[in-house]
């Protein structure tokens, strides 16, 4: 959790980004980025899920409550889903969730979605770079920080 208040600390703000990556494409893409030794920012903390359609919108909300400054959901390209259409269902859900968060006053750029295939290690690194830079610009998420730790 980064409690940055002053400007000098703001410059060093390192965001926490939670990545929900699908087992079959995005996670393998991240793996490829690793084995190909492509550099990308270390701010992303990856949680492997079996499919991007597995990502419950409450995962995103709870992540933002528990100290994440941004959430990235990675799935297969449309048509490539291991479970036929899990990613297409996720796409619908996230479209509505992003609009709802925006309406409530949580910057919807904090929640990002991406299609990364198992062969796109370089794209994965670029996506992480872009997301990290953007969330650094938005600043830390402190509006709905969970207060009770029990």
């Amino acid at each position: 959790m980064t409690a940055t208040e002053t400007n000098s600390e703001m410059e060093e703000f390192e965001p926490n980004i939670i990545g929900f990556l699908c087992n079959w494409c995005s996670y393998a893409g991240a793996d490829l980025a690793g084995t190909s030794r492509i550099q990308y920012p270390p701010n992303i903390k990856i949680i492997k899920v079996m499919c991007s359609g597995r990502v419950n919108p409450m995962y995103v909300v709870n992540a933002l409550q528990q100290g994440a400054d941004g959430v990235l959901i990675g799935g297969c390209h449309p048509g490539d889903c291991h479970y036929q259409h899990g990613n297409l269902l996720a796409r619908r859900r996230m479209a509505i969730l992003k609009n709802l968060l925006e309406f409530i006053g949580i910057d919807s750029r904090r929640v990002r979605m991406t299609w990364v295939s198992a062969a796109e290690g370089r794209k994965f690194a670029e996506v992480i770079k872009e997301v990290t830079e953007e969330i650094k610009k938005i600043g830390p998420m402190k509006d709905i920080q969970r207060v009770n730790e029990w």
Binding site: P57, M58, V61, N62, Q65, P78, H85, L88, L89, R91, R92, R93, M94, A95, I96, L97, K98, N99, L100, L101, E102, F103, I104, G105, I106, D107, R112, M113, T114, W115, V127, E130, V131, D143, I144, Q145, R146, V147, N148
Partner: protein
Amino acid sequence: MVDQQLLIDEVKKVVSRDDVKYVIGYKKGTTGFTISPAFAYSTEYADKFIFNPLCKKNLAAYPLLEDKLPLKREEKEDKRKIGIVAKGCDTRALVQIIQEKGLNREDLVIIGIPCSGVIDYKKITAMFPNETAYSTIEEEQGFYKITINGKVHEIAKEELLADHCTSCIAPNPVIYDVLIGEEVEPWDLEEHKNLDVLEEKDVGERWEYWKEHFDRCIRCYACREACPLCYCKECMADLLNPQWIRRSVNLSENTAWNIMRAYHLAGRCVGCGECESVCPVNIPLMELNKEIEKDVKNIFEYSAGMDSEEKPLFGTFRPDDPEEFIM
């Protein structure tokens, strides 16, 4: 305006059918401008049935509350139908429940009532704070005629009309077995009050607005209990493992609850306004619902509760769903 005698006769006719267990409708409440749900098990109960502009309550939740007790040995299941008096928005809720297979269409006898808008209880009690009874209430050419203690008050319709009625897309019942009275003309739709004001603000200002409201929330879950579409046997908010929402009442958990409630009604909310009218701390929940309804309409061209054969919004997809937000 619905002829009361016509309604009573129709309820009597339905309840005397062999295959109908009871009919759910409205009756006058015990005090002030309240309305209670009424249950007619036989024809003599039907006499107290009413329908007037105060009947805002959505009764679609009641058939779902039916207890299904385990059967005794050699006991036959009671397969009789339930009759229900339903306005336009109530039938939309029923259609949505039927679409989700929560109820069977064959188990319902729907007595449809064309509705030209209902009165907001909070508005009318603010206008007459000390009245404990009224004799009649009628709608006439843009005015409500309210008779209290022999004195007739004429009040413009806009002053009392519930906010959600201005953007109602189904004033006439969507499905019905019996229709009482004449169908009404649909009116010009207005956007929900305050929605475009909020949309013009920037993210920070919107958060300040919602923060103030969510901070007040006492998490009584009245919005969930009153909603005809919140009928899950086990709500995610009540689960302990995983505990999606902690029990403590604070801004963080309240926000999570309100996001969850609004999100679970995405593409399902029929806009009956029950959640907002039962909220003890007056959180404008309909603004959340209407915003999602608008997004769903714009992005997916889908309206909840209009066609029971349609697939649920999040249970299906189109290959060309918009994905400009995806990297």
